[in-house]
Point group: C2
Chain length 144, copies 2
DNA sequence: TATTATACTACTATTTTACTAGGAATTGCA
DNA sequence: TGCAATTCCTAGTAAAATAGTAGTATAATA
């Protein structure tokens, strides 16, 4: 029941983009350095975000990436589902293909549905804008 | 972010024990047949439940397993954590060893805490007795 | 046209998952 | 007392997922 590095890195990547959103696009190399993540791995992750239209890419010198829309336009769930796949705790909630034949009389199914709802209530509510806000709060309060 | 078979099977196993809780202990073989799960695999799973004192075992002929206490005494979280390990969505919530050095200024940490709370609010609230109840409701309503 | 950046594809070591296999220990019953 | 039924214990293993690395192609800019 762990979120993988892919999902976690994707969130930090998008947050980094949101925090450095001025005119100039942000290079993978810079995100990788700031977030201390392999740039080659980030490249793969951002590639799927790019294909989904979550970020815009600019190639060549002075190139990089920018968010496609305002941070408030992304929920955490959107980003995680794109990189992690489904966030449902069991496969039978994903799609009909994975439903088992005990469906009708399965008591644990109700449990999984409740758990799924609880997860959704967080990931589909919190947006990238919230993360930006929280980040700024944390930085303000953080004194060495 | 999936619950593994180990955790799912453990829940069904415990539910099966709760549903067949009369004087006679329940054999692994019977649970395996009813739940359509490999009995050798169930054996391993119930072994950890036994070591944790969640079930009592009786060896020899007419042996088997029984719940150690009333179904209301087990939360789903207890059973899942024993078999799955931690249910926290990221390792840095598990223990201090896994905390990263960004902890102080990490905005996603707040997200993971909220997600963790949401998960806990379900798994630490629902008990095996609830599953029994749901099961009975389902069976009552299920007409072929 | 050299340089800087993204884009794409393939490969790989490690870990986790989901079991299977085989035998040892215990106990009830004939 | 011995056999059969059951749990107990340990090891092995195929397949999938995870977390990357590596190399080259493509595009844009100065």
């Amino acid at each position: 029941m762990k979120i993988s590095t892919k999902g976690r890195y994707a969130l930090r990547l998008m947050l980094d983009l949101a925090l450095h959103d001025n005119d100039a696009p942000v290079r993978i190399k810079d995100i990788a350095a700031r977030q201390d993540i392999s740039d080659k791995y980030l490249e793969q992750i951002i590639s799927s975000l790019n294909k989904a239209g979550y970020v815009k890419s600019i190639r060549g010198p002075q190139g990089g990436y920018k968010l496609a829309k305002d941070p408030s336009g992304y929920t955490v769930g959107m980003i995680l589902r794109l990189t992690e796949g489904s966030l449902a705790p069991v496969a039978c909630l994903d799609d009909e293909v994975n439903q088992c034949d005990r469906q009708e009389t399965c008591a644990t199914l109700k449990l999984w549905q409740q758990l799924d709802d609880a997860i959704k209530s967080v990931v589909d509510t919190v947006t990238l804008a919230d993360l930006v806000e929280w980040q700024e709060e944390k930085i303000d309060n953080y004194v060495i």
